[in-house]
């Protein structure tokens, strides 16, 4: 029959799709994979530092972890909803301590670094990278600012510290209409270094990366202007042996050197 010939030839691509679907067994593979290669959730400011540490870990131990990077608040929420992370490096210890209190972690975790924020301006910006905020203040008054990027203070610790620093200088209300909020501090860095914003406040660790520092100039913002960025990490309930090994590795000298390289102040050392 004329019609059924076409139908039969349409079945072949469907068979191909079926093979695509059933080739690996969905559940089993995902299960074993997560035991061998745990997913570690890290705050966005660790974008470059944690990638380097994971590479060093793989080189030193021949074990691998998979990294997921995003805003600390988002991860905390996802962990509460059952996300399959085995380790969580937060940019704000408040999130870790709350998770520990509510029974999602193995223990209270460890302070692994203290972070800093910087003001960054892209090339060709009318703003200057001025850590006293005097230039920013003048620019706001003169109407030279149209867009200024920070991470979302609601769930990104670096965004919250940016807000605190701006409030400290009584600039928050003036700058609020011009703010663009990144979903995490990496996205804020994207906005701040693009030609679409005059500048922003981002993580020191991101600004130190060659990829970012090539895009503009930055200055460290005084620590006294905001509450400290005490970054805490913790193993979660589902943590397996590889995750535990990685947790220990992050506290060892090789990892600490990498943290230092990205401008983090290590616990027990002064900045």
């Amino acid at each position: 029959m004329f019609g059924s010939v076409s139908l039969r030839s349409a079945l072949r691509p469907l068979l191909a799709i079926a093979m695509l679907v059933f080739a690996p067994d969905l559940g089993a593979v995902a299960q074993t994979r997560s035991d061998e290669r745990p997913v570690v959730a890290g705050a966005s400011d660790l974008q470059f530092a944690l990638e380097e540490i994971a590479k060093a870990f793989a080189a030193d131990t021949r074990l691998a972890v998979t990294l997921a990077l995003g805003s600390s608040g988002n991860f905390a929420r996802q962990i509460r909803q059952g996300a399959p992370f085995q380790m969580y490096l937060s940019a704000d210890e408040r999130y870790v301590l709350d998770l520990a209190r509510d029974g999602f972690t193995l223990d209270q975790g460890t302070l692994y670094a203290v972070g800093r924020i910087v003001i960054i301006v892209p090339r060709g910006s009318p703003l200057k990278a001025d850590e006293t905020f005097a230039d920013l203040s003048a620019a706001l008054a003169a109407g030279r600012v149209t867009r200024f990027a920070i991470a979302n203070p609601e769930h990104a610790p670096y965004g919250k510290r940016a807000e605190e620093a701006l409030r400290h200088n009584r600039l928050w209300d003036a700058i609020k209409p011009y703010l663009v909020l990144g979903e995490n501090v990496s996205q804020a860095a994207q906005f701040a270094t693009s030609a679409n914003a005059q500048g922003g406040i981002i993580a020191y660790s991101l600004a130190l990366s060659p990829r970012v520092s090539a895009l503009g100039t930055y200055r460290l913002i005084p620590e006294s202007w905001h509450s400290p960025l005490r970054q805490r990490m913790v193993l979660l309930k589902s943590a397996g042996p590889v995750a535990k090994r990685f947790y220990a590795y992050v506290q060892e000298p090789a990892a600490r050197t990498i943290f230092r390289k990205y401008g983090f102040v290590l616990p027990g050392e002064d900045g």
Partner: protein
């Protein structure tokens, strides 16, 4: 170029299409042939995902399937795994969200079959099942294929829902759309550009295929 993410996206799209094929044919056919009170509402419900912002949809999915919900806990008890943040959960979300892309073209395809043809099949003594296989499906197959192709392409590009319900777990829920977002944030423009170009090419191919099939349907009715 995140091959794991690409493979994951392709598998998600393929699984979605495979599940939507019988669902779409059944519901599309039912909506095409039957008239009933409340049909308008039924069609509106089917079309809802077209207008609903993906994050709204994702939010409701999270609330209804999450670890704290009855459905989520049942699933956990039955399969030992979460429904959210897993491929399974993503697949469930994808199937629901692609219903209009699957059902609507198929419904049009079945509607386009002249009732005389179906009556003739019945007069010939064909059972409804045989009529479906031998008469209706061969006539409606361009529409069915369009529906499958559209669902496949739409799933490849889905972002908002995956972000809400997926959690970007590599190898499990980190689709290529999420991977592009991730690479941009890592200031890795090269990888992001590569993946974006690939998705663009795939989308163009899909649309071209869809139009080619539409012309075939047009000729058939012509």
């Amino acid at each position: 170029m995140d091959w794991t993410a690409l493979w994951l996206s392709l598998r998600l799209a393929a699984c979605t299409v495979l599940f939507l094929l019988p669902i779409g044919i059944t519901l599309g056919r039912w909506l095409a042939y039957r008239d009933f009170a409340g049909k308008g509402i039924a069609e509106a419900l089917v079309a809802l995902p077209l207008v609903l912002p993906p994050t709204v949809f994702g939010y409701y999915l999270l609330v209804s399937f999450g670890a704290a919900s009855p459905v989520g806990q049942l699933w956990q008890a039955a399969f030992g795994r979460q429904l959210v943040f897993t491929f399974d959960g993503l697949l469930a979300a994808s199937i629901i969200f692609n219903l209009p892309f699957a059902i609507q073209p198929m419904q049009r395809g079945f509607e386009a079959i002249p009732p005389e043809v179906r009556e003739a099949a019945a007069c010939c003594g064909m059972s409804p099942w045989r009529a479906l296989l031998k008469v209706e499906l061969p006539l409606a197959w361009p529409a069915i294929l369009t529906a499958m192709v559209l669902s496949f392409a739409h799933t490849l590009g889905e972002f908002g829902i995956v972000l809400m319900v997926g959690g970007s777990v590599p190898g499990e829920t980190k689709t290529i759309a999420i991977a592009i977002y991730d690479r941009v944030q890592a200031f890795d423009d090269v990888a992001a550009a590569q993946m974006a170009a690939l998705l663009l090419a795939l989308s163009l191919a899909t649309i071209a295929l869809t139009y080619a099939f539409s012309r075939r349907i047009g000729r058939r009715l012509g």
